[in-house]
């Protein structure tokens, strides 16, 4: 009887061996995979186990943290002036994940980034608790406040983007209506309710949409700045004060349709300066048609159209179509037809002109800091393209300054500061049935000839009376306040 007993002993040994091998498989070979599985709740618990690092504007954090009393997540995010900063920060929520800056820089903010590994290991050895690093932004608190309050006073939907032309730093990034990310930061029923209310399905205003980066609007007349730049660069016209070859009324090539001007304005053979001052559709439509689709598209691309921008928060790509016939090109060149731009894109147009033709890559993260505020990474300004020569840029500047001095943009005037700008009133809806978008793009120039700020403002106001909407009336005052705020803060 002992022979089978010995075999049973071996069999039992094999059973235990199988368990040991399986244990090594799940606790050693597969351990990391299981441990870091995003559905493994421990990953979230760990994430909220230590206070998150802060997002900083002008030396002051615009975020904070609070301890939660219920559940297994220890800390939750809080925001100061949440609705104002939401387009910059995005949100991070115990229940709903994270987006935008909070998501992109999650590694630094939680302290899990590989670049913090050595520091974390040291901290572990010295018994210090893990901390998150900080994200220092390029934003200007005063400009942001001016932008957000301007939109809020206006009451309609809209967005503002302000850039520093010489570097590409984003100074203001506002969207309205907005939301308070604090209200969805936890994982309580209250947060879930707030989240549901913010959902686009339940809220036609879509407050969580970052209009400054993610919404494209037909840019309307503000696009004429780009068309003018194309004309100057191509050499079609070289002198802003020389007559152009522009019949009025003008029938678009290949059609029998007249391209109308808004009101009774002196557009016949108008100079570029006058055409921009009065916003002549005929002049710029014909320029686009004369230059052709390819040249216009080429210039639009140099300004950043057709590509997503990573600030590092991604913006939507602005649209300028290819494969259009001359009449479609003409319409596109005055910012209609398929042309659509994000507020960031139009701010980039103003910024490139103001920066003597050099477009700087827009960015909002100045610096990533370790928990002890050592710099881990610093963003250096980067040239993106040179859409137009310095000489042509200065010509265009003088034209835009005329718009503000004597033309449609007079609401943007700032005493003692040279301001260049362009209004826009873009039609939309079937047969222009819906209220147009009011646009204004501008820059302010200091005494030394450099521009500290370029702005784009767009207002989509469903409730306003149609005639009231014009870039000069609704958008220009907001742009002025933002520019003033930047200039004031530089003093």
């Amino acid at each position: 009887m002992n022979k089978p007993l010995r075999r049973i002993a071996i069999f039992c040994g094999l059973l235990v061996l199988a368990l040991l091998i399986r244990d090594n498989w799940i606790q050693y070979v597969k351990a990391d995979e299981l441990r870091t599985d995003t559905k493994n709740r421990r990953v979230s618990i760990e994430r909220y186990a230590s206070p998150r690092g802060d997002i900083i504007v002008g030396g002051n954090p615009i975020t904070g943290h609070a301890t939660t009393t219920s559940g297994d997540f220890k800390y939750k995010r809080t925001y100061k002036d949440g609705p104002m900063w939401a387009p910059v920060t995005g949100f991070v929520s115990q229940a709903f994940g994270a987006n935008q800056l909070e998501s992109i820089e999650d590694g630094i903010l939680t302290g899990n980034d590989d670049r913090l590994f050595f520091r974390n290991t040291l901290d572990m050895l010295t018994g210090k608790k893990k901390e998150g690093g900080n994200v220092v932004t390029t934003l200007n608190a005063d400009a942001q406040k001016a932008a957000y309050n301007g939109l809020k006073r206006q009451g309609g939907k809209g967005a503002v983007v302000a850039l520093e032309p010489s570097t590409g730093k984003i100074l203001a990034l506002a969207s309205y209506p907005s939301y308070d990310p604090s209200s969805i930061a936890g994982n309580s029923d209250k947060d879930a309710e707030a989240w549901k209310k913010l959902d686009k399905k339940n809220n036609p205003d879509d407050p969580m949409l970052n209009r400054a980066l993610r919404e494209t609007y037909p840019p309307g007349s503000t696009f004429k700045v780009l068309t003018a730049a194309a004309a100057l660069e191509d050499g079609l016209y070289t002198d802003p004060d020389a007559k152009t070859d522009s019949p009025d009324p003008w029938v678009m090539e290949g059609t029998t349709t007249r391209l109308p001007n808004e009101g009774n304005i002196p557009c016949k053979n108008a100079t570029l300066r006058v055409a921009l001052q009065y916003s002549c559709n005929t002049v710029f439509g014909k320029i686009g048609s004369d230059l052709g689709n390819d040249k216009m598209l080429d210039m639009a691309k140099k300004f950043g159209f057709t590509e997503e921008q990573y600030t590092p928060v991604r913006s939507s790509a602005s649209v300028f179509s290819d494969d259009m016939n001359p009449s479609q090109t003409a319409l596109s060149s005055i910012g209609q037809f398929n042309t659509a731009a994000t507020p960031l894109q139009m701010a980039m147009v103003a910024s490139a002109v103001a920066n003597n033709g050099t477009l700087m890559k827009p960015y909002m993260v100045d610096e990533l800091q370790a928990p002890n505020v050592d710099t881990i990474e610093k963003t250096e300004p980067e040239e993106m393209s040179q859409p137009l020569s310095a000489k042509n840029a200065q010509i265009l500047q003088s034209m835009m300054e005329t718009v503000v001095d004597k033309g449609t943009g007079s609401n943007a005037k700032i005493p003692g500061v040279k301001v260049g700008g362009k209004t826009g009133t873009a039609q939309h809806g079937v047969d222009n049935s819906e209220n147009p978008y009011a646009w204004f793009i501008s820059y302010a120039k200091g005494a030394d000839g450099t521009a500290p700020v370029a702005v784009a403002v767009v207002i989509e106001d469903d409730n306003a009376v149609r005639d009231d909407i014009s870039g000069g009336g609704l958008a220009a005052p907001i742009a002025r306040n933002v520019m003033e705020a930047v200039i004031e803060s530089k003093k």
Partner: protein
């Protein structure tokens, strides 16, 4: 007895046992460790959870120490030559189980469940009491042989109990419990395991020659005669019935596996193993083809993530979807090599049965690979001591009973640990000594008691030969 036909080398273990020291002091020294280690672990949990030594440390340490002490004294008095390792191993596992159950009691996530550690301590005391009863009143395990057929009736009665209307309780799909008003639930299967082993041992001892010798040879295998297939068929059918009516794959597998092991040992015919494996495969696949509960278990084993998603989504399709299998895997994986340390893991995410069927996952997360391997090796040692007892036993009934009990113990550890670790489909069973559950702890202490009794008989020195004036001329022949 068939062992007499074995080669002489096979006698060494039995010969070696004769005149062996009792090893009671070794047992006492090991017991000190078996009590001190859980006490330290208990303090560790308290320090990790509340930054203070738990107030119950002294009473807990004394309680465990008392159990070990009583066990030791009873063994010293009534089974002085018993195996010295089994009692310390069981005490250590029982103690560690108590610590982890207490640790899970402290969990906020599991605050809906009643406090389990004090009850488990009570059950452990009852278990040790039963061990004492076995050792005191069962002077010789061969007495059990007389109750072979009563055991059969008893085992069947215990197995049928959960199916009695009004008495049985369906808990999460398995119907293996009975409700005793005022006392809670009882798992008769745990006790049936021991009673069945007694029946199988008694039955096979009588029938083994018929089962072993009357057979034809076919393709290198000895095929039993048709009528000799009777017993294995009956046990197979009963196992299938358990599977179908109590929807308990684990118990079914355990009983059938135990029978096959004992049949093989009794007859030394490998063909029985082949038959056994074939029959369990046919039975399992056959039942799984129409029993949704079993199908879900198999699906959860093949794709635990899918079950997790289904459970989270609250899919209602007639079967219970559980995220426990996935949660257990995450617990093991998150523990890694060295674990998070006692009290610092999140294995309580498993929820229901975290301190019973799934308790190994908490060991996995908080003590890591190292801890689980240690636990598994402790079980391996208990099984090994059981098999050694079977080898050392001098009577076939003792051999069969010892191998049946230790084989069943080994199968149970494999089925539950393998299930929790995702090696095999999960079946509702408790990890002996460690998991929370009165029936399991009490029955396993009784099992250890019987093994101690058999090993005591096996290792007891043979009575000295009677004084004989012709002694010098007489050659002493040691019995084997």
């Amino acid at each position: 007895m068939s062992s007499t036909t074995n080669s002489p080398t096979h006698h060494t273990s039995t010969i070696g046992a004769i005149g062996a020291p009792s090893r009671r002091n070794t047992e006492l020294a090991l017991l000190v460790f078996a009590v001190v280690i859980p006490v330290f672990a208990y303090a560790n949990v308290g320090l990790a959870l509340n930054d203070s030594v738990p107030p119950g440390l002294l009473s807990y340490g004394l309680g465990l120490g008392l159990l070990a002490g009583v066990g030791h004294l009873v063994v010293r008095k009534f089974a002085p030559y018993a195996d010295p390792l089994m009692l310390p191993l069981a005490t250590l596992l029982n103690g560690l189980g108590l610590v982890v159950i207490w640790r899970l009691d402290q969990s906020k996530r599991l605050s809906n469940y009643a406090e389990a550690a004090p009850r488990q301590l009570l059950y452990s005391a009852m278990g040790v009491a039963l061990l004492a009863v076995v050792l005191i009143f069962l002077k010789d395990h061969r007495v059990l042989q007389r109750y072979t057929y009563i055991s059969m009736a008893g085992a069947l009665f215990l197995l049928i109990l959960p199916l009695v209307p009004g008495l049985g309780a369906n808990i999460y799909g398995a119907k293996i419990w009975i409700k005793i008003p005022g006392l809670g639930t009882l798992q008769p299967g745990e006790f049936a395991k021991i009673v069945l082993a007694v029946f199988f041992a008694g039955y096979l001892m009588v029938k083994r020659d018929a089962l072993a010798l009357a057979s034809r040879r076919f393709m290198g295998l000895y095929l039993p005669r048709g009528r000799d297939l009777g017993p294995i068929l009956v046990v197979w059918v009963i196992s299938i019935l358990i599977l179908v009516f109590e929807t308990d794959l684990g118990t079914s597998l355990l009983f059938f596996g135990m029978f096959v092991i004992m049949l093989y040992v009794a007859t030394e015919r490998t063909s029985w193993i082949v038959f056994g494996l074939l029959m369990s495969a046919v039975g399992a696949v056959g039942v799984a083809s129409f029993e949704p509960h079993i199908q879900t278990r198999v699906q959860a084993w093949l794709d635990p993530m899918r079950e997790f998603e289904l459970s989270r989504a609250g899919v209602q399709d007639g079967v219970v979807h559980s995220e426990q299998a996935m949660q257990a895997l995450w617990a093991f994986g998150s523990g890694g090599t060295l674990g998070t340390g006692l009290g610092q893991g999140n294995s309580d995410l498993i929820g229901f049965a975290a301190n019973s069927d799934f308790i190994l996952a908490t060991f996995g997360e908080e003590l890591g690979l190292a801890g689980v391997m240690a636990i598994l090796l402790l079980y391996g040692l208990i099984i090994e001591r059981g098999v050694r007892t079977a080898l050392a036993a001098r009577d076939p009934f003792g051999k069969l009973l010892a191998i049946g009990l230790s084989g069943a113990f080994g199968l149970q550890v494999f089925v539950v640990a393998g299930g929790v670790m995702g090696l095999i489909p999960l079946t509702g069973m408790t990890l002996p000594f460690v998991a929370y559950g009165g029936s399991s702890v009490i029955a396993n202490w009784a099992l250890i008691g019987i093994l101690l009794r058999i090993s005591d008989t096996a290792r007891r020195p043979a009575p000295a030969p009677a004084a004989n004036p012709d002694a010098e001329m007489t050659q002493v022949v040691r019995p084997s």
